[in-house]
């Protein structure tokens, strides 16, 4: 008779066992802030459809200290999410060959972050210009 009795270790709390997994969970968790911010914007659209009074009420609500606090927190969380998103990007792409050489992972991450930064600034400048 076989004496084999393989022991299967439980996976409970797996993400706390390695700092890499903790970082992964934070990275995934910050996506909730992206969703929450989208919900705030969609709610604004709904209020706009309901008329001027509703729209102005939504604008006023945005000026509350709670709302400003949430937006600052969301900005930090979404910024971190963007950073980790571009950090993993080289692993998800086919090799990029430039001048016969493979582009390094950091060049890809850096380009992604730069593109995101420039796009954000351009959008900010556009909205700023429209609001003035």
């Amino acid at each position: 008779m076989s004496k084999r009795r393989p022991y299967v270790r439980p996976m409970d709390g797996w993400w706390r066992k390695n700092p890499y997994f903790v970082e992964y969970m934070i990275h995934e968790g910050t996506a909730l802030f992206v969703a929450a911010y989208a919900a705030v914007l969609l709610f604004g659209l709904l209020r706009l459809a309901q008329g001027e009074a509703a729209w102005n009420g939504w604008l006023l609500a945005l000026k509350s200290p709670w709302s400003i606090g949430f937006h600052l927190l969301a900005l930090a969380a979404i910024g971190y999410h963007a950073y980790t998103w571009f950090k993993i990007m080289p692993r998800t792409m086919p090799p990029v060959i430039v001048g016969g050489k493979r582009l390094s992972a950091w060049a890809i991450t850096g380009s992604g972050l730069a593109a995101a930064g420039i796009a954000s600034l351009a959008l900010f400048a556009l909205v700023w210009g429209m609001a003035r």
Binding site: K3, R4, R5, P6, Y7, V8, R9, M11, W14, W15, K17, N18, Y20, F21, Y24, E28, I88, P90, R91, T92, M93, P94
Partner: protein, 251 residues
């Protein structure tokens, strides 16, 4: 004058299927020198302290892929990890995570072997060739397409680094999917259609959530996360092209 002998504590997760219900740690005090690997530390235990300790090893130079263990919670080849880097702390060694423990540091790897077979890890010729036609010729670019992915030594560190495999044993997993990719992108191979069924399957690439730790721990810089994620794109292409040119199903 000889240097004073240094002693390091090695904590091993022991499991004897004939006597133990659950694994338990056991600490050994091992004299060591700065050139000793964790594998040599474990070998010292077997030779001088407890002959019943079980573990796999062969080449001692990060080629064979036999001696993978969790070392202080991280998957690594014990032959390329040095005791001096942990001294004066304790080194904790444990069988590779996410695999069943057969005994002490030995894991059961039948599941992986079955997956390896399932991806048909060999060149399936596009058309029959005779010996008289000579060897296949490849350009450097054709070689570069798969070379990195062919460096896998089946050490299974990537599986021990993959929580998705830990949570779902059916996931084909990083190394097998990487080897699948290695053959699919080989210019000599014609087996892509058959292998795509496994890529697209429930247990295929979409189990991966891009944790990326597999590529961090790979001792051969194979970058399995890259191979798996490239095949998410390939799978999506395969799905949409199916509407244009119907072919086989998914497993």
């Amino acid at each position: 004058m000889p240097e004073q002998q240094k002693i390091i504590e090695i904590e091993v997760l022991r499991y004897n299927p004939e006597t133990d219900q659950v694994p338990h740690p056991q600490v050994f005090e091992v004299p060591f020198t700065d050139d000793m690997s964790v594998l040599q530390g474990v070998q010292y235990i077997k030779d001088y302290l407890d002959g019943s300790l079980s573990f796999r090893w062969s080449c001692r130079m990060a080629i064979c892929g036999s001696c993978g263990m969790m070392i202080n919670g991280e998957p690594n080849l014990s032959c390329q990890t040095f005791l001096r880097d942990y001294y004066p702390g304790r080194v904790r060694v444990e069988a590779l995570a996410h695999f069943p423990i057969e005994r002490d540091l030995v894991i059961g790897m039948e599941g992986f072997i079955e997956k390896l077979e399932s991806i048909q890890p060999y060149i399936i010729p596009k058309e029959a060739r005779t010996l008289a036609q000579g060897e296949y010729l490849q350009t450097p670019a054709q070689l570069a397409a798969y070379e990195q992915f062919s460096s896998c030594i089946n050490c299974l560190l990537c599986y021990a680094a993959c929580p998705q495999f830990g949570l779902n044993k059916d996931f084909v997993g990083p190394a097998a999917l990487t080897l699948l990719h290695r053959y699919n992108v080989d210019s000599r191979d014609g087996g892509q259609a058959a292998r795509m069924e496994l890529v697209n399957a429930e247990e295929g690439v979409f189990n991966c959530t891009a944790v990326g730790y597999c590529s961090e721990v790979c001792p051969k810089h194979v970058d399995p996360a890259n191979a798996v994620n490239l095949n998410k794109t390939n799978s999506a292409m395969d799905y949409f092209l199916r509407f244009l040119a119907p072919k086989g199903g998914a497993k």
